[in-house]
Symmetry: C2
Subunit: 298 residues, 2 copies
DNA sequence: TAAAAATACTCCATAGGTATTTTAT
DNA sequence: ATAAAATACCTATGGAGTATTTTTA
């Protein structure tokens, strides 16, 4: 009887997540038959069927479901072993999978990558850019090591490290440059351009205006701050961007930047990781570097 | 870079336990070089030394120690996966590693093996006979599935299932057969033969006499109930044995059996397993069978 | 010097890939 | 009819064994 292997668990974990042999195989960087064979092997060693053969869309058996959960856990523990080893070293080495939200990534990454590559030679940085909820899911599943995002996230099992506070500034067409800066009530009367649903920055901008959802007439949305600023340049409306975005985004657009007075809209940027991660000390170091990278951008 | 494998963890776990490449290899049923190579591989993948090379007796690095703990946990989780599969089946199948204390094993096993082999075809019973503390260690380390012993064990993380109560009877030379049965005080004045240190049965017998340790003059000890009964037959003293041992042990010895009156010495026999084990339902079935096997012995 | 671990080298089992067939919608 | 999974077959890698050399107590 062939022994159970981690490879089999890795493949099965992928299969359970993707629900598709081909995609799972691709995610594991192997051919579909290779994965098929290993799954069958696993079923043989366990002595029970993991999935209902001849059923598309693919369905796991009840046993398969619990088995997949266990497998995920086991794989996480194994990956943590590697983390443990890295924690033993005094420098940050190996592969670090870091997630960054879209309203931070473009302004932080160039400097961050520069700094880490000079201070942590041999560190292989894998970056994933997506919205907060997805980052948190990946983080908790152990597919990301850490993430840079807006705090608080307030998820059990995750540790948050606040790095810095940053204000949002108003972006308006150049022609409005000398008008008085609107307060939040005035802002609500203007055509405010927002990021599409899902971005935490959108919610932060809305909450500054004391709104829970966008007003019907403000349905103009962009998928990136860059797009929003371009739209402002075209005279379509106004928008908010975080300070760290100013340098980059105003370089090519004919827009004017203004600080808010009174209660400034702000966000707190921080680093998040699994509480149980052995790399905690390393993440704190990384936090310093992220902070530094962000500072130079403002 | 080669991936981390369960095989490597298995070997390392064994190495950490035995502190000796040769013995660990033997325990894994592989040659010493095979194990050496895998350990080195593991160190390479993890990127940190697990043991202090060139140091005899073998010593793990601090990282090696934590790593060994993790490895053990991981291997246990993996083994539980197999249990999970077996639990999915409605019958008890595969290999079941069962521990039994020495004062139960000889009287229970013949019948137990008979019953299981007829009711659970295909069940491969691995029996380990040793004293309670060792059984508990093996159990908690996941190297045993379940154990039959005297309750209570009262260990966190273990589930106890009481099966039956059983009295201890007095064994005395045939010439004493018509004397009155001694009470516990009288017993203390007689030459009481005991099992050697470590057997729970010894402690139970002593506590019946309200003694914490054996009296100096009673240092006559045997390593099995069988030996004790033979010694009684030779007129050396008296002893106690559990009811289930009577049939077997009095067959060949010229001794007389007597029930105690008043407060009878007793023990409770039960089944113990890891609380987290997915095989709980199966163990309850097994309990029935153990009970039945024991009943027929009395 | 004796016991234990590391190396060297050879062999085989197993995982993977490509090509192809089977199956289910 | 088409997309997806299983099967067939070949190749290559990696783990195991035996023999041997190093190492340290």
């Amino acid at each position: 009887m062939t022994p159970l292997t981690l490879r089999q668990l890795r493949y099965f974990d992928a299969l359970a997540r993707f629900g598709h042999f081909g995609n799972a195989a691709a995610a594991c960087s192997v051919s579909q038959p290779a994965l098929s064979v290993q799954i069958k092997e696993l079923e043989t060693t366990l002595g029970a069927p993991l999935l209902e053969r001849g059923a598309r869309p693919l369905r796991l058996t009840p046993f398969g479901i619990t088995c997949a959960e266990r497998a995920t856990q086991i794989l996480q523990s194994v990956d943590e072993l590697a983390d443990l080893a890295r924690a033993a070293s005094d420098r940050l080495t190996g592969t670090l999978r870091i997630g960054v939200i879209p309203t931070i990534a473009p302004y932080l990454l160039p400097r961050l990558i520069g700094l880490t590559s000079q201070r942590h030679t041999g560190l292989d940085l894998h970056v994933r850019e997506t919205i907060t909820p997805k980052l948190l899911t990946e983080l908790k599943a152990g597919r990301l090591d850490t993430a840079v995002l807006a705090l608080p996230v307030d998820e059990p099992g995750l540790t948050e490290l606040p790095l810095f506070d940053e204000a949002f500034v108003l972006v308006r067409p150049n022609v409005d440059a000398n008008k008085p800066v609107p307060d939040r009530e005035a802002l609500r009367e203007m055509r405010l351009l927002l990021l599409e649903e899902g971005h935490c920055f959108r919610d932060q901008a809305l909450s500054f205006c004391n709104l829970r959802t966008a007003l019907p007439r403000e349905t103009l949305e962009g998928s990136s701050l860059s797009t929003l600023v371009q739209m402002v340049g075209a005279g379509i409306g106004v928008t908010l961007i975080p300070e760290m975005a100013v340098a980059v985004e105003t370089r090519s657009a004919e827009v004017s930047i203004a600080q808010f007075n009174d209660p400034q809209p702000r966000r707190q940027v921080g680093l998040v990781w699994r509480q149980a991660s052995p790399l905690t000390a390393r993440f704190r170091e990384l936090g310093e570097i992220v902070h530094e990278a962000a500072k130079s951008q403002r």
